[in-house]
């Protein structure tokens, strides 16, 4: 396997992140599942279930989901002891880019995997597919998904969450250049919660991480503004992560071998 991807996939953080995403999505659905019961699903419920992960517990866990795959990258480099050789071969700039992109890929994959598992569970537990074979299930669902915009909705939710996770993974990668794995994860979580808290009720309210991740789709407000803010946050996080890593590799940096 490609060493670039191997580094992302071999750390357990990716799978922990995916499990947490699945847990957060199922937690949101759990109340409805226990109340209505599976046999009462209607066509609209499939669409409704796909909107559920846009709120609640995913906001609490998102920084953790993002930080889990990213925190190990620099910690492993430090503990393995051959960072000097790596830097000699690829140079500081390429090293920084590599680690940042690995953090982004890890976090995005964790969210994508978790969300895919959640969608699979929602679809497989619906009475529309319970008693029919797979071919019939696909033909039943295809018009439903396209007509009710279930697929675009699911894709939009997954994309925004993955993008937000990637943003916070960059911050975690920057923090992990200076501190241990666990401390870096905690600092990321603290930064996320603080930003969320401080911006509530202020003039910068619309820059809140949660608000940007999950705009209300049913108000028909244009989504590009949210996407633009999310992109700006991502670029700022990339700047922070890159600067931290570059500084840590400098003459007085903590990562300098």
């Amino acid at each position: 396997m490609n060493t670039y991807l191997k580094r992302v996939l071999s750390g357990g953080g990716l799978y922990w992140g995916a499990t947490l995403t699945l847990f957060a999505c199922l937690y949101a659905a759990m109340g409805v599942l226990s109340y209505l019961g599976l046999s009462y699903y209607t066509k609209g419920d499939v669409v409704y279930f796909l909107t559920l992960p846009r709120g609640d517990v995913i906001h609490l866990l998102l920084p953790l989901i993002a930080a889990l795959p990213a925190a190990t990258l620099c910690a492993e480099d430090r503990s393995r002891g051959y960072l000097a050789l790596v830097l000699k071969r690829c140079g500081n700039g390429r090293y920084v880019l590599r680690r940042l992109s690995q953090a982004v890929v890890g976090a995005a994959l964790a969210v994508a995997l978790g969300f895919a598992a959640y969608c699979a569970i929602v679809y497989s537990h619906s009475p529309y597919t319970a008693d029919v074979d797979m071919k019939e299930a696909v033909s039943t669902y295809l018009p439903l998904m396209t007509r009710h915009k279930a697929l675009p909705l699911a894709l939009d939710t997954a994309f925004r969450l993955a993008f937000a996770a990637a943003t916070w993974a960059l911050i975690c990668a920057g923090c992990s250049a200076f501190m241990g794995e666990m401390q870096a994860m905690l600092v990321t979580v603290v930064a996320y919660y603080f930003l969320s808290q401080l911006l509530v009720g202020s003039a910068l309210n619309e820059w809140m991480p949660q608000r940007i991740q999950t705009p209300d789709l049913f108000t028909a407000a244009p989504l590009w503004q949210y996407s633009l803010r999310q992109l700006a946050q991502f670029l700022l996080a990339a700047l922070f992560g890159g600067a931290c890593l570059a500084f840590a590799l400098g003459k007085r940096g903590g990562m300098r071998p």
């Binding site: 517990v57 609490l60 905690l186 603290v190 808290q197």
Partner: protein
């Protein structure tokens, strides 16, 4: 006497591992920002000193539907201890283990020493946080440590008891969560798993058990609510029984410590590699 000095020095070393600069910086940063975030709000300008500390370390009120912001507030208050705990695991229970383990008469003695140090660390963090918060509030012009409470007969009185109770419950809550994390680390030797077992039960419980509906789901007996003084029953109203909360927390910390001591019998700590 020599033995006592030895124990004291070991505790001191463990506490130094726990209260490392990173943990102290996190504590100061979180406490300062949380306090400033509270006192700059116009509607909080008339709050007394004690009320501000109580607002910050007394937890959150009962909610029908808890918002992520409210849940994040309490998790944020628990995170300075998480930082200290991470340092404690890395230092005291991992990298220094091969050099210090032989000084103890048995593995159980080593474990009990760590439990005691961890508990002391939690109390120290609660105390520092409370003092720092009070200091910032004093600088902001807030005065008066006493809080107005209602006794069982309905009379209003001024007391410092709710403030001390809030800090005590907060420390015990951190003690339970770190105790669980230490036990998980003892079994798995996986620091990531230990950290998750510190954060996730708290996040899950806050989201799940914050409602005040005593018929559908009685949340008065949930562990997460034992750490929030604002959810304690006052003057016979709905809420967590104070005795149950404090004694229950202590019992749980003790149970986790004993469970760890029992697990020690099956584990050789010094020959295991941390992940």
């Amino acid at each position: 006497m020599n033995k006592l000095i030895k124990y004291k020095n070991r505790l001191k070393m463990d506490l130094l591992m726990m209260l490392r600069p990173q943990a102290l910086i996190a504590l100061v940063a979180i406490c300062t920002l949380q306090t400033l975030n509270l006192i700059i709000k116009p509607w909080n300008r008339d709050l007394g000193l004690g009320a501000i500390v109580y607002e910050l370390y007394g937890g959150i009120m009962w909610y029908e539907f808890i918002s992520p912001q409210a849940a994040a507030f309490w998790l944020l208050q628990l995170l300075p201890c998480g930082m200290a705990f991470a340092g404690f695991l890395e230092g005291s229970m991992d990298s220094r283990l091969p050099y210090t383990a032989y000084r103890f008469s048995s593995q159980t003695a080593w474990w009990l020493s760590k439990v005691a140090a961890n508990l002391l660390g939690c109390f120290a963090i609660a105390l520092f946080s409370g003092l720092l918060c009070a200091l910032i509030a004093v600088l902001g012009g807030h005065r008066g440590l006493l809080l107005a409470i209602q006794d069982a007969q309905g009379f209003r009185m001024l007391s410092m008891a709710p403030l001390l109770l809030a800090l005590l419950a907060y420390a015990l809550q951190m003690g339970i969560l770190t105790g669980l994390g230490m036990l998980v680390y003892l079994i798995s030797r996986n620091s990531r798993l230990a950290l998750l077992s510190y954060i996730l039960p708290a996040a899950w419980s806050i989201m799940r058990h914050s409602g005040d509906d005593s018929l559908l789901m009685d949340n008065r007996h949930r562990v997460i609510n034992w750490g929030m003084a604002k959810r304690f029953s006052q003057g016979g109203g709905f809420g967590v029984d104070t005795g149950e909360a404090l004694l229950g927390s202590l019992a749980l910390i003790l149970a986790l410590a004993l469970l760890g001591a029992a697990v020690q019998a099956f584990i050789n700590q010094t020959q295991r590699k941390a992940r």
